[in-house]
């Protein structure tokens, strides 16, 4: 009797909703035209792209669909916001960001440093929270852009985006936020948050991989990084990914409608799971800010265990979780997020991210709870300290 594997890694990627798959398939079928073609196949494709743009705009409270530019995903959006903002002005400039950003932001900042741009990386507190005061103190006369993620992908901590937005507006500095993990999970309003640039990605909100968007506030100018055919109002060239864009639009439409309810459900499932885990397993710490997190994210430190080994043991038992970000498959280093939060080494090493989302059920959680205590015990027993530890 093999049961279906249980997917608990929604921060890495999410299953595609059937309505989204349907929208995609419409444009893999007879409606396959190039949206830039004049004929009916083209007009049909164009209408789908523009409808998707409206849904995306509505999800984040953009004033106009024109402010949404479709990209190949969150990574491109992040790159574009930073590279485009730097390249649009004379001089090298300065960037303020945090040490817990996704590599799409962090690595790009580091590369920009090589070409002379200066970057200030703000460390968060132990809960993963970036201080507005530290952002304020970091802004200089030559600061071109502040980039602080809406919510962190590893621990789920939600940043004080409205306050940072107000600060940047006051100081006349562009404000970009990587909302790849927040969109569709939290209620987002780019106007009350005074965000100038916002990145989002399809595959984190039950749409497809390889599609996303960058919100660019009307009046904000950044240089394009992919040029050519002049698509997307000359801001992002390349034949539009019509099927995936149509799917993303559908996902945004659904998220807009269902987010408050779904988020509540998911958060309470996550809380139940965490409570049970902490009750059944000794020496577990919750990483992040328990009172201020993405609804489905649970990052736990199993002291004395090693995360990857635990992950693989769970995988063979039919549970998909992760040790942190899934983006850098090659990475052997401990999580830069947990390190930047100043966590002790054993909490970092033993950390596991369990992320729930659309489709997660109470049964999934119950099944995990059956298996996890033994798995943790077994993995802990491998470690050198096992000898001196109480149990075995």
């Amino acid at each position: 009797m093999t049961r279906d594997p249980v997917y608990m890694d929604h921060n890495a990627s999410t299953p595609v909703r059937p309505e989204v798959a349907e929208a995609i398939n419409r444009h893999l079928g007879p409606a396959f035209g190039n949206p830039n073609s004049i004929h009916r196949f083209g007009r049909q494709a164009r209408a789908a792209v523009e409808e998707a743009r409206e849904h995306a705009a509505s999800l984040i409270g953009a004033a106009s669909p024109e402010e949404i530019i479709f990209t190949s995903g969150g990574t491109e959006s992040d790159n574009w916001a930073l590279r485009g903002a730097i390249s649009a002005v004379e001089g090298r400039g300065h960037i303020v960001t945090s040490a817990i950003e996704h590599p799409a932001v962090l690595d790009t900042c580091q590369l920009l440093e090589k070409s002379g741009v200066e970057v200030t990386y703000i460390n968060p507190d132990q809960k993963g929270l970036v201080s507005v005061g530290e952002v304020a103190a970091a802004i200089r006369p030559d600061t071109r852009i502040v980039s602080i993620m809406w919510a962190n992908n590893e621990v789920g901590t939600v940043q004080p985006i409205e306050k940072i937005g107000a600060l940047c507006r006051e100081r006349g500095v562009l404000f970009h936020t990587d909302a790849v993990q927040a969109a569709g999970k939290l209620s987002i309003d780019v106007n009350s948050a005074r965000v100038d640039l916002l990145s989002a990605s399809g595959h984190k909100i039950n749409a497809a991989k390889g599609v996303g968007f960058l919100y660019i506030r009307n009046g904000v100018h950044i240089d394009p990084i992919i040029t050519g055919g002049g698509q997307e109002r000359n801001l992002r060239s390349g034949t539009e990914n019509v099927p995936s864009i149509a799917g993303l639009g559908e996902a945004c439409r659904i998220a807009k409608k269902e987010q408050p309810f779904e988020s509540r459900e998911i958060a309470s499932l996550r809380d139940k799971m965490e409570n049970e885990i902490c009750e059944r397993i000794p020496d577990v710490v919750i990483n992040g800010d328990p009172g201020n997190r993405l609804p489905g994210t649970s990052n736990l430190g199993f002291l004395g265990a090693e995360g990857e080994t635990l992950l693989i043991r769970l995988d063979l038992e039919g549970f998909a979780v992760s040790t942190g970000s899934a983006c850098s498959s090659g990475s052997t280093e401990p999580s830069h997020v947990l390190l930047a939060m100043g966590l002790p080494k054993n909490a970092v090493q033993g950390s596991l991210r369990i992320s729930l989302g659309w489709g997660s059920t109470e049964d999934d959680v119950n099944r995990l709870l059956e298996v996890l205590p033994k798995a943790v015990e077994r993995v802990r027993s491998i470690a050198p300290r096992a000898r001196t530890a109480s149990g075995s």
């Binding site: 004395g304 090693e306 990857e308 080994t309 992950l311 693989i312 043991r313 995988d315 063979l316 498959s329 090659g330 990475s331 052997t332 280093e333 401990p334 080494k345 970092v348 090493q349 077994r378 027993s381 491998i382 470690a383 050198p384 300290r385 096992a386 000898r387």
Partner: protein, 127 residues
């Protein structure tokens, strides 16, 4: 199947999920240790000799999947070997016995080998 330089193969995964010969051996002086400061890996290998031949091997690991698998494999590989033969357990032999490791994890086989050498050295120095 297509080449995959990113993921662990099934052999490695099985080792990680259920590593062989975990634990320690009391009353042996043939103990090797190793660490990988970058990842924070900590490894201990215990060997018990019957004359010149490895009669038992155990290991403890607090480290990533690859080093866990490598050490698990090592505890199988070293059994029945002489001290001289232990020196022939190269990183390639360890990786080979696992059916390969992802490129960015190959250094774990080197760490595992160093731990064998460390154990042998500790024994020799005590003889």
């Amino acid at each position: 199947m297509a080449t995959d330089d990113y993921h662990y193969n099934e052999t490695v995964l099985a080792h990680i999920a259920d590593p062989h010969n975990t634990g320690f051996i009391e009353d042996t002086d043939c103990i090797g240790t190793g660490t990988n400061p970058a990842c924070g890996d900590e490894v201990t290998l215990y060997l018990e000799f019957d004359g010149n031949i490895v009669a038992d091997a155990k290991m403890e690991v607090l480290g990533c999947g690859a080093i866990t698998a490598a050490m698990s494999a090592v505890t199988d590989l070293v059994r029945g070997k002489t001290v001289d033969e232990l020196l022939e357990v190269t990183p390639e032999v360890i990786t080979g016995s696992l059916g390969g490791l992802p490129k960015h994890k190959r250094h774990c086989a080197r760490l595992a080998q160093r731990v064998i050498q460390s154990a042998v050295k500790n024994r020799s120095s005590n003889q």
